[in-house]
Each structure stands twice: as structure tokens, then as C-alpha cells.
């Protein structure tokens, strides 16, 4: 193995690792605030990639229809719960948002603008379509059973993953998509070239990570999210609405997922069912962080990216086997370093 290959592999590993780090952060965010182990995060990546690819090819993807249907269901659930509430008026705004936003977006995209021409607008439209699916699906799937234990929430998350995979096949078809890179240029460093796309991917991940991090540390809303994560009953008592916190988390997770999809689709071909493997790699990173530590989770995810890229060189057939086998020593290490904790309801 020459130093050149080492560097190229490191570059690959870092780029993928940056994406996994983003996903790991989203997974930790959702888990700490809502206790949902968010397996469908991977589908947001594939939806982002495939939506972006469809827009590049000049048509509006039919996933917009899913958004509209899911939005209507969410609005119906919201209104139904309003009937049993003391202040039903409170449900009017969310219900209007759930039903109205997808409808307006769909009407504008299908009948007014069509698929946008500029790359920047394509990215914006991709995020506008995919990210709101996060809070909408939370309202439909998780919020009605928010008090259930982690296990039940996990099974529901896996069920949602299946639904989204099936719908993805329906909306995008079985063909894989690989998008045009956002940036064509490249830089040469000695004998190896670094593509602008790689730099942009790592840069975008870093910016998003810093943004997420600082908004938790410095904004009131971010502090409210952290408070909900530490103790949801206590947060409720001081006037923080856990529902709003959860909705924001799922929106952020959706945004991060869709953005990862836009970035990764120029590097690897994405199929409707690629999501689970990508999400699981983010999970391994998150687990290294014990599902609570953001920095450790991010570092873990970068390590996953590097191991992936080097093992694909040494033993490409066993790349995935090696990568997922890695979880065993990680868990062993966790089980030795972490004292046993009982879960209390």
C-alpha cells in the first residue's frame, strides 16, 4: 500500500465519516429528547438523494404525494385529539400546518414552478419536501404512543422504516440514482487530487454540526430541548412543551438526513433500500458515544467511515461484515466501562 493510496482512502473515509457523523448526531438528538431509536433516519437520506436526483432530471418526484397524504393524516389525528381536549383551539394551528404546507408546496411545484433549474434551488426544494416529513411522521406514528417504553418505540421505528422503504420503491422506482456533484472543481495536492465535492461535504457537515451544537448551547429553544432530554416531566413543569421539543427534533433530524442525502448521492449510488445500511453506520458511531455524547458520537462515526474505506481496500467482499462485526468489541468495551443501569419507567 503506497502512501498515495493511504491518502486517497483516508479522503474517502473522512467524507463518508462526515456524513455518518451528521446522522449520528441526529440519532442522538432524537433519542435523548424522545427516547426513539430512529431507524428511519436512513430513509431520509435516500429520500433526499432520490428527490434531488429526480429534480436534476427535471421532474417533481411523486414523494410529494406521500407528503400530502401523511400531512392530511397528521391533521386528522390532531383534530381528533382536539375533540378530547379542554382547549381544542390549540390544535387548529398545527392541524392547518400539517395539512396546508404539503398541499401548498405540492400545488406550487406541480402547477406553477415545476422542477427548478438552478442547483441551489434544487437543494432548497429537496429540503423543503423531505425535512417536513420528520415532524409529520412523528405526529402520525410516535406522538400517539409517546409514553410507551423504548422497546415499543423501537419496534414502531422499525415498522416505519419498512413503510418508508416500500413507499420509496413506489415513488422512486428500483433504479439507483447518482447525482451530478454540486461542485466540479478539484484541488491537487502533490500527486493526489481532492475533489471540491469532498471538501464541500466535510465542510457542510462541520458547519451543520457547529450550528446544531451552538444552538443547543446558546439559544433558549436549544436549552429547552436539552432540558427535555434530561428530564421530560421536569421540563413540562417549567413550561416547556415536550410535544414542541419532539417536533423540532424530528424536523432537525429530517433536515440533516435530507442534506446528507444531497451530499452523499454525488459520491455513491443510492437505491430506495440503501437507507438502513447508512443509518446503521451512523448508529455504530452513536453507540460509540453511548447514545448520549455528541462529540464521542461524531468521532465514532468518522472512525466508522475510515474503517469502511480501508477495509474495502483490504477485503472488499467482507467490508460490511467487518464493519458491522465491529459493533461486538464496541459493545464489549461499553459493557466493561459502563455500570449496569436499570431502566425505570
Amino acid at each position: 500500500m503506497t502512501s498515495e493510496i493511504i491518502l486517497i482512502l483516508a479522503q474517502d473515509g473522512l467524507v463518508n465519516g462526515a456524513i455518518y457523523a451528521l446522522l449520528a448526531l441526529a440519532l442522538i438528538l432524537v433519542f435523548t429528547v424522545t427516547r426513539v431509536i430512529y431507524v428511519p433516519q436512513g430513509e431520509f437520506v435516500t429520500y433526499g438523494a432520490l428527490t434531488f436526483s429526480a429534480l436534476q432530471r427535471g421532474h417533481v418526484p411523486s414523494v410529494v404525494v406521500l407528503l400530502i397524504i401523511a400531512g392530511l393524516i397528521a391533521a386528522a389525528i390532531e383534530l381528533r385529539s382536539a375533540v378530547f381536549q379542554s382547549s381544542p383551539r390549540r390544535s387548529m394551528l398545527p392541524a392547518a400546518l400539517y395539512a396546508g404546507y404539503p398541499l401548498v408546496l405540492g400545488l406550487v411545484l406541480y402547477y406553477v414552478t415545476g422542477a427548478p433549474k438552478s442547483v441551489a434551488m434544487q437543494v432548497v426544494v429537496t429540503l423543503a419536501i423531505v425535512a417536513p416529513l420528520g415532524p409529520i411522521l412523528w405526529r402520525v406514528v410516535f406522538q400517539p404512543m409517546a409514553s410507551a417504553n423504548i422497546l415499543v418505540l423501537l419496534i414502531a421505528a422499525v415498522a416505519l422504516h419498512l413503510v418508508l422503504t416500500g413507499v420509496g420503491l413506489l415513488a422512486f422506482g428500483p433504479e439507483g440514482a447518482r447525482t451530478e456533484p454540486l461542485f466540479d472543481a478539484g484541488v491537487s495536492l502533490g500527486s493526489i487530487s481532492i475533489s471540491a465535492q469532498s471538501i464541500a461535504t466535510i465542510g457542510a457537515s462541520l458547519i451543520l454540526i457547529v450550528l446544531l451544537f451552538s444552538s443547543f448551547t446558546f439559544t433558549l429553544r436549544g436549552k429547552a430541548l436539552r432540558a427535555t432530554a434530561v428530564n421530560s416531566v421536569g421540563a413540562r413543569l417549567v413550561g416547556i412543551r415536550p410535544e414542541l421539543s419532539a417536533a423540532i427534533c424530528f424536523f432537525l433530524a429530517g433536515l440533516v438526513g435530507a442534506m446528507s442525502g444531497v451530499l452523499i448521492s454525488a459520491i455513491t449510488t443510492i437505491y430506495y433500500d440503501t437507507g438502513l445500511l447508512i443509518a446503521l453506520k451512523g448508529f455504530i458511531g452513536a453507540i460509540i458515544g453511548g447514545l448520549v455524547s455528541y462529540p464521542l458520537g461524531a468521532v465514532g462515526a468518522v472512525v466508522v467511515g475510515l474503517i469502511e474505506s480501508y477495509s474495502s481496500f483490504w477485503a472488499s467482499a467482507f467490508k460490511e461484515a467487518l464493519l458491522f462485526g465491529l459493533i461486538i468489541p464496541v459493545l464489549l468495551w461499553l459493557s466493561i466501562t459502563r455500570p449496569m443501569k436499570d431502566e425505570h419507567e
Partner: protein, 588 residues
Amino acid sequence: MNILGRSVGWLAAAVLVGVFGLGLPDYYVTLLNYIGLYALVALGLVVLTGVSGITSFGQAAFVGIGAYTTTVVTVNLGLSPWLGLVAGLIASFIIALVLGAITLRLSGHYLPLGTICWSVSLYYVFGNMTELGGQLGINGIPPINLFGWALDTSRSMYYLIWVCTLGVMLLTDNVLRSRIGRAMRALKYNGEMAESFGVNGSRMKLFVFVYAAVLAALSGWLYAHLIRFVNPTPFGINMSIEYLFMAVVGGSGYVWGAVLGSAVITILKEVLQDILPSILGRTGNFEIVAFGALIIVLLQVNRDKGFGVLFEFLDRKRSRVKAPDGLPVAVRTQLAGPLLSARDVKRTFGGLVAVNSVTFDVARGSIVAVIGPNGAGKSTLFSLLTRLLDLSGGQVFFEGIQIDRLARHELVRRGISRSYQHVRLLPDRTVLENVMFGGHARTDRGPFSAAVGINSEQELQLLGEAEFQLRRLGLESVQDELAGNLSLGQQRLVEIARALVSGPSLLLLDEPAAGLRHTEKVSLAKLLTELRSEGMTILLVEHDMRFVMGLADNIVVLNFGRMLAEGGPREVRANPAVLEAYLGRAGR
């Protein structure tokens, strides 16, 4: 318990299997084969998830271990399928043991995540090893030979599959109705409480995990010799998810749920795969959308109970049996000196000192009460004595032996038992079953005796003991009610009955009289006095002063974690420091 009813049920199931095998056309026999194979795996998950509250997304991988092991043994090595079965069971046993030992020590959600990852890993190993045929798989697996009769048709395999499935279900059902089943449910409901009554939590979880894996491997062995071909596809993560869905649909805790869940998912899949492509005009595995939606709705309506509620009536019906006198009384060595002594016991939470240098003795055959205002550290002290919390300093001796480093589940075997301030009964099990669980550490029949039914004598003794204690507490009329339906006061009494069934020499009661009516308090005081006269030692935390003063031989007063006073009721009542803590400084 309703032995006649159960026997009729199992017999009917066996006859039905025979009739189906003789009468149904091939298509349905094949469908039933798959339902039986999947039910075996789902049964493992029912026990794992439904009863013990842990789960695995790696069951398909264990099926794969069973299938591939027998393939290697029979095709590559040319040996008998029966050796393949043994090898597969051993392989899955060892792998599950190692995997479980690693993950089960962590919080509950690491196990599913860990099993997802390792089963993905194994899938790629199956698919990439040329010795295992890679993605193309291996052909030509020989049929199973049973007493010179080759099981080489779908119909002949049908009988073997269903004999295995029904047999395993019967054995599992026996285990779930035994002390092991009660321990599993208690562990799912509240780990601390279960361990206080002598359940070794991590060992029990490991046992269940290994059991589920071995069942999956058995299913894999049958599968390989039914299809006579293996490739990696049926052992991937998607199949693992489907197995879990079967367990969810079938519901928690009932062996028949496994067959129901397996049948619902298998038949639904068959139907959807027929009709969906014509509706959508496209082919693809769209049935997963329907599965996912079904599971989400089911979880929202019924959490993890699934359709298992349908089986609950089976448990409710119970014929009376004449129970013998109860369990043999444990003979414990009695030393001179106090039964329990706390020396400089201390506990801090960060900077807060909840219990500070508390030292007192509990004399044999006495009733000692710990009193003090709210936040005085009484419940923390109880938790320290019963190993729910670790000491920050000091020592605790019981019968002269230091016990503050013992495992939690050891205490009850030495004769310490307790009730809880916040009632910890399994609300959806009967009062009798809750109380019988108290005798866990006094009985010793393991899962294998329970499976084949040689535990019945001990179970009857335990039943007798439980009924005796329930009568003693005046609860015999409600013993078949669900514990959750009782009033809070009655639930406290059930907790005491449960503690008594464990045959303690020291009984710790955390606010036993809270929520009781006056007459109930009077009879509780009478019972405690009676227990004392039989030689039992009682340590209690209580708020009701009249109750305490009339009952206790000795009183320990705590305030802000420190001992304020100790002595007989008269002394304590006259102690100025105590009066000040309770009533404030007297005006001068």
C-alpha cells in the same frame, strides 16, 4: 392450573395437525410448514420480548446458523442430518451465550441494536464465503432420515415440523406457568423488585436469550432439510424484522400468540403478494408497507400486547385444587447478638448527604420502627439495607455477616425480605401469582423440571404457602383478582403476603399502613404482633405515630439524614430533640 382444560386444548391441537396433514392439498400443507417454522422462531421472541422485556433483531441470523451448520455437516462433510442438528444447536448456543454476555449487561436498547448489526454482519459472511456457496447458495442437502423413512416430501416434513413446534410450545408453556415464568415477568416489570426476591437478573436474561436462539436454530435445521437448499436471503435483517412482527402481532406472554402471529403475517404476505402488483401495476415487495402500517396501528392501540389479549381468558379460568400445607421451613443458624446491625451507614448523592453515620441494632424478635419527618432519609436507609443502593460508607451486618457487598438477589436467601413504599406488584397478574412469586428463593425447580412437569409437587407446596399467607392477611376472597384492580391498601397487604412467602427472619416494611383504613390498621398491627411472637423480626418505616407507638419495641428517629434519638416509645416521645424536630421549638 386448569389441567383438564389444558390437556383438551393440546390434544385438540394435535388432532387438528393430523387432520390437516391428511386432508389438505399440497399448497396448504406447504403454507402450514412455513407457519410452523416461523412460529418456532416467533415463540423464542414471545418469551424474550413478551415475557422478559428484551428483544432481538437477530433471530433470522440464528435461523441461518442452524441452516448453514447442518448444510456444512451434511453436504460438505457428508454426515447425518441428526449430527447437523446437534452441531447447529451447539453453535447457536455458544454464539448466543457470548453475544448475550456482552450486550445484556448494558441497558435494554443495546441488545436490539447489537443484534441488528451482528446479523447484518453475518449475512455478508454467508453471502461472501465461497465454502458456503456465496450468494448462489448450496444445493443438494439430503432429507432427514427417521427410522429408515426419508422425509423427502413437503407432507412428510409437515409432521416433523409440527411435532417439533407443538412439542416446544407445550414445554415452553409449562415453563411460563412455573416459578421461572413468574420470575421472567417480575424481571420485565421491575428488575430491582425481582432481584430482591432472589432472581439473578442477568443470568435469567441470558438464559432466555440463549433459549430463543436455540429455537431459531432448530427452525433453521428444519428449514434446510425442507427446502434442501440454502442461500443468504432468508436469514437477512428483513426476515429478522418479520419474525419480530409475528411476535408483536401474537402478543406478549402467550405461546399460542406465536402461532397466531406467524399465521397472520405469513397468510397476509401470501395474499398481498398476489393482489398488490395488480393494484399498483408494478412488482416489488410492497407488502412491507402494509406490514409496517399494521404494526404501527397495533402498537398504538395495544402497545406490545398484540392479539395476545385473546388468550387471557385461558389464564383466568382456574380450577380449585386442594393445596398441601406449604413449604418446608428453612432452618437457619441463630447466633447470639443482634440480628441486624448498621454501623456508621452513610450515603451521599453528589453533595447531598442523605444518610449520615447512622448506627443502630435490631434485636432478634423485636419490632423496630424508623421514623422521621419527610426527607429524613428513611427510605434511603431502607434502600441501603436491602442493597438497592450502594453504601458511601459504613457497614451492615446480618447474623454477624457483613452483607453490604452481597449481590441483591442473595439477601432473600439469607432471610431478608421487604415491601415497597410505592407498591411493586405486577398489576396484570393475579394476586395469588404475585404472592407465589415471593417464594422464588425458597423453591429451586429450574426450567427443565418445569418443562417436563416434575416441579408440580413443589408448585403445590408453594401454592399452599401462598394461600396460607393470603388467609392470614384476610385476602383469600380476592386472590384470583388482578393485583392492579385492588385498592391501594389491599395492594400493600398483598406486598406483605408476598414478603412473608419468602420465609424471612427479618421483614422490612416501608410504610405498610399508608392507605389503610382504621380497622385495617388495627388488624395489621395484630398480625405484626403475632409474627413477632412467632420469632420474626420486623423493621418498619411509618408515618402514623399512633400505629408506631403502640407497636414498636424500639424506635430510631432520623432527621436530615442523622440519628436524632433511639429508644423505647416512651423515651422517644419525651425526647426534647424529637419534639423540636416534629413540632418546632416550644414557645418560651
